[in-house]
C-alpha cells in the first residue's frame, strides 16, 4: 500500500519542489516523478491481478458525524486507470519539454501538470469518497491554472474561469450526492457505501445517483455542462491531451464505474444518463463536423466519445465503458499531441490554414491516421473493439436484456449511437483530409518537431493501434459480429459521404453536407448563448442590484436610524431656545402639574 501512496505522492512532490525550483531543473522534475509513478503503477497493475483488491487507512478524521477515513485502495479498475493516467502524463510531460521550449513560465506549467497528475491519481486510488472529492476539485483547479497558462490574453483567462465554474457547479451536486451516500451508509468509505447499497431505499439511491450525475456531467463534459470543454482548447495543446482527453474528463466515467452497483440499483438515473448521452453524442459530433479549429473538432469529439462511455454505462456494461475509456485515452491523447505537432508546424489552429501536410510530417501523419482510424472505429485499431462493445450492449439492452433501461430510451440510445458512428467517421475523415491532403499553403515549410515531441507520439500510437486486442481474452470485450458489421458499415458510409464531397471541391469545407444544420452546428446549437443569457447576465444584474440594495436599503436603514436619532435630538433642541422666560414657564407648568396631581390624585 505504500507503493500506492508513492504513486500519488511522487508527482505531488514533483509539483511542490517544481514551484520553487528554477527553470533548469523543471524538465527533470516534470518527467522523473511521473515516470517513476508510471513504473510503479505498471508493477502494481501486474501484481494486483494476482493478489486481488486491497486498501489501507492512514487515519480516521472525526468530524462530529460520519468520519472521514484517509485511505487509499487498489483494485483492477484503479490499477488500469492509474496506468493510463501515468502513461499519458509521462508522454505529455516529455512532449511539453519540446513544445514549450520557448516558454519562460515552463516551471510552473510543469508543476501544475504534476499536481494535476497527483490529484487524478488520488481520485483513482482513493478509498474514501471525500478524499476522492479532494482530488476531484484539485484537478479542476489545475485545469483552470493550465487553461489560463497564457494569461496575457484575457480570452484564455475567461475560458479558464468558465471551465472552473461549470465544473464547480457540477461538483456541488457531486458533493451533495456524496453526503447522501455517506449519511445513508454511515461511512464515506467506498467499500462501506457499496456494501450498504442493497439496504438503501430506492429514493435515496436515485437522489444520490442523480446528484452524482451532476458532477459527472460537469467533469466529463456531458450535456448540459459540456460548454466548457471546447473553450478549454485555449490552453496549450499538451494539456488538452492530458486533461481534456484522457484523464480529467474520464474521471466522471470512472466514478460511475466505481460506484456502479449504486447506479444499477437506480434505474431512473440510468435513464437520465442515457438520454443525456444520446443528446451529447450526436450534438457534439455534428458540432465537430462544422468546426474549423482542429482542436475544437477534437474537443467536440471528446464530448461525443465520453457520451459513448456514458451510454455504455447506462446500457449496463461497466467493463465496456472502461475499455473505451482506456482506448479513448490512448487515441485521443495521440490525436491531440499530433494536432499539437501540426499546429506547431503550421502556426495556426485553423484547418483552412492547413492542407497537404502529409509529406512534411513523416511521423505525425501515420500516427494521426491511426488515431483517426481508432476514432472512427475501423479495425484493427483499438477504437473498433471498444466502440463495438458499447454498440453491442446498447443493442442488447434495446432488446430487453442488460440494464433496467426504459425500452424506448434504450432504442433511442442504440439508434443515436449508430448515427453518431457515421457522423464521427464524417468529421474524422474531414479533419484528416483537410489537414493532410489538398494543396499546401505556398509559404509553409512544415517539419516535425524535436525528438521530445516525436517520441511520445510514436509511443502512444502503439496502444492506439493495438490496445483493442488486449480485450480479447475477456468474454465481454470481444467484437460481436452483427453489430460490428453494422457499425463499420455506418462508419464507412459517413467517411464516403465526406470523401465524395471533398473530392468534388477540395478547396471548400466538406461540412457543407450538413446543409441547413451547418450554422447551428457551428455555434454548437447556441447553447453557449443561451447560458449567457439565462445565467451570466441575470447574475451580473443581480449582483449590481445587491450592491445598490445594500447601500440604499440595508445601510440606508442604518444611516436612517442615525438620522432619526439626530432628528429626535433636533426636536428636543427646540426646547433650548435660549429664552430664559420660556424655561421658567416650563418650570411653572411642571410645578402646577405636580401639585395638581398630588392634590387631586391623593
Amino acid at each position: 500500500m505504500g507503493l500506492v501512496a508513492l504513486v500519488v505522492g511522487l508527482p505531488f512532490a514533483g509539483a511542490l519542489i517544481g514551484i520553487f525550483a528554477g527553470r533548469r531543473a523543471a524538465p527533470y522534475l516534470a518527467v522523473i516523478p511521473t515516470g517513476a509513478a508510471l513504473l510503479i503503477s505498471a508493477w502494481l497493475a501486474y501484481a494486483q491481478a494476482a493478489a486481488g483488491p486491497r486498501e489501507a487507512t492512514l487515519t480516521l478524521v472525526e468530524t462530529g458525524s460520519v468520519p472521514i477515513s484517509v485511505s487509499l485502495g487498489l483494485d483492477g479498475l484503479s490499477a488500469l486507470v492509474g496506468v493510463l493516467v501515468t502513461v499519458v502524463a509521462t508522454a505529455v510531460q516529455t512532449y511539453s519539454i519540446g513544445y514549450m521550449r520557448q516558454e519562460p513560465r515552463y516551471a510552473s506549467y510543469a508543476a501544475f501538470i504534476s499536481l494535476f497528475t497527483s490529484a487524478m491519481l488520488l481520485v483513482v486510488h482513493a478509498a474514501d469518497l471525500l478524499v476522492l472529492y479532494v482530488g476531484w476539485e484539485v484537478m479542476g483547479f489545475c485545469s483552470y491554472a493550465l487553461i489560463g497558462h497564457f494569461w496575457e490574453d484575457r480570452a484564455n483567462s475567461r475560458a479558464a474561469i468558465k471551465a472552473f465554474l461549470v465544473t464547480r457547479l457540477g461538483d456541488v451536486g457531486f458533493l451533495f450526492g456524496i453526503f447522501v451516500l455517506g449519511i445513508s451508509a454511515g461511512s464515506f468509505r467506498i467499500g462501506d457505501v457499496l456494501a450498504a447499497v442493497p439496504a438503501m431505499s430506492p429514493g435515496t439511491l436515485v437522489a444520490a445517483t442523480l446528484l452524482l450525475v451532476a458532477g459527472v456531467a460537469g467533469k466529463s463534459a456531458q450535456v448540459p455542462l459540456h460548454t466548457w470543454l471546447p473553450d478549454a482548447m485555449a490552453g496549450p495543446t499538451p494539456i488538452s491531451a492530458l486533461i481534456h482527453a484522457a484523464t480529467m474528463v474520464a474521471a466522471g466515467i470512472f466514478i460511475v464505474a466505481r460506484l456502479y452497483p449504486a447506479f444499477v440499483a437506480a434505474p431512473p438515473t440510468l435513464d437520465l444518463l442515457a438520454v443525456l448521452a444520446a443528446l451529447g453524442m450526436l450534438g457534439a459530433a455534428l458540432a465537430a463536423l462544422a468546426a474549423d479549429d482542429l482542436k475544437r473538432v477534437l474537443a467536440y469529439s471528446t464530448v461525443s466519445q465520453l457520451a459513448y462511455m456514458a451510454a455504455g454505462l447506462a446500457a449496463g456494461t461497466r467493463d465496456g465503458a472502461v475499455f473505451h475509456l482506456l482506448t479513448h485515452g490512448a487515441f485521443k491523447a495521440l490525436l491531440f499531441l499530433c494536432a499539437g505537432a501540426v499546429i506547431h508546424a503550421v502556426g495556426s489552429n485553423l484547418m483552412t490554414d492547413m492542407g497537404g501536410l502529409r509529406r512534411g510530417l513523416p511521423v505525425t501523419f501515420p500516427a494521426m491516421t491511426i488515431g483517426f482510424a481508432a476514432l472512427m472505429g475501423l479495425p484493427p485499431a483499438s477504437g473498433f473493439f471498444s466502440k463495438d462493445v458499447i454498440i453491442a450492449v446498447t443493442e442488447h439492452t434495446a432488446g430487453g436484456e442488460g440494464a433496467p433501461l426504459t425500452i424506448w430510451i434504450a432504442w433511442l440510445v442504440y439508434g443515436v449511437a449508430l448515427v453518431t458512428v457515421a457522423v464521427t467517421a464524417a468529421y474524422s475523415t474531414r479533419a484528416w483530409l483537410r489537414t493532410f491532403f489538398g494543396v499546401r499553403r505556398p509559404d509553409l515549410a512544415a517539419h516535425e518537431g524535436p525528438a521530445s515531441m516525436v517520441v511520445p507520439i510514436a509511443v502512444l500510437a502503439v496502444p492506439a493501434l493495438l490496445l483493442g486486442f488486449a480485450g480479447l481474452p475477456f468474454a465481454g470485450l470481444r467484437p460481436d459480429l452483427p453489430s460490428s458489421l453494422l457499425s463499420v458499415g455506418a462508419s464507412l458510409a459517413g467517411a464516403v459521404v465526406v470523401w465524395t464531397a471533398w473530392r468534388r471541391d477540395p478547396e471548400s469545407d466538406p461540412a457543407r453536407v450538413l446543409g441547413p444544420l451547418r450554422p447551428a452546428a457551428e455555434q454548437a446549437f447556441y447553447v453557449d448563448r443561451a447560458y449567457h443569457a439565462l445565467f451570466v447576465r441575470p447574475v451580473a444584474a443581480l449582483a449590481r442590484l445587491t450592491v445598490r440594495a445594500d447601500d440604499r436599503v440595508v445601510d440606508g436603514a442604518v444611516r436612517g436610524s442615525g438620522r432619526t436619532a439626530v432628528g429626535a435630538g433636533g426636536l428636543l433642541r427646540r426646547l433650548q431656545a435660549g429664552n430664559a422666560q420660556a424655561y421658567v414657564t416650563g418650570v411653572l407648568a411642571g410645578v402646577l402639574i405636580i401639585t395638581v396631581g398630588v392634590v387631586v390624585l391623593r
Binding site: R544, R559, V566, G569, G578, A580, V584
Partner: protein, 127 residues
C-alpha cells in the same frame, strides 16, 4: 385680622410677580417682578408666623434672610443687566438667546457624513 387677608394679598402680589417674570421683555422689569415675588413670600411668612404664634419666630427670621438675599441678588442682577446693556445696547430678554442651541446648518454635526466607498462609481472617487 384673619390670616386669609394677608395670604390673599400675598398670592395676588405673587401672581403679579409671576406675570412680570414670564411676560415682560425688559430685564429690569423682570428683576423687579422677582422682587415682587420675594416680597409676597415675605408677607406670607410674617402673616403665618403671627397666625401660628411661632415661639421661635421662624417666619420672621426667614423673612430677614429673604430680604438680605433679595438685596444681594438684585445688586448682582442689576450689575449683570448693566454689563449686558453696555455690550449689547439692549436689555430685551427675548433678544438675549446665546444659551440656546443654534439651528443646524445642512448636516448636523453629530451625523456621519455620507460614506465614501458606496457601489461602483463612488469607490473609485474615494480611492
Amino acid at each position: 385680622m384673619h390670616v386669609v387677608y394677608p395670604a390673599v394679598v400675598a398670592a395676588l402680589l405673587f401672581s403679579v410677580g409671576v406675570y412680570g417674570v414670564l411676560a415682560r421683555r425688559n430685564a429690569i422689569l423682570v428683576l423687579m417682578s422677582v422682587e415682587l415675588m420675594l416680597n409676597a413670600v415675605n408677607l406670607n411668612l410674617v402673616a403665618f408666623d403671627v397666625w401660628l404664634r411661632d415661639r421661635l419666630h421662624g417666619g420672621q427670621v426667614l423673612t430677614l434672610f429673604v430680604i438680605v438675599i433679595a438685596a444681594a441678588e438684585v445688586g448682582v442682577g442689576l450689575a449683570i443687566v448693566l454689563a449686558v446693556f453696555r455690550n449689547r445696547r439692549t436689555v430685551d430678554v427675548d433678544r438675549l438667546r446665546d444659551l440656546g442651541e443654534p439651528e443646524p446648518v445642512g448636516a448636523s454635526p453629530g451625523e456621519p457624513e455620507p460614506v465614501g466607498g458606496g457601489p461602483d462609481g463612488r469607490a473609485g472617487d474615494a480611492a
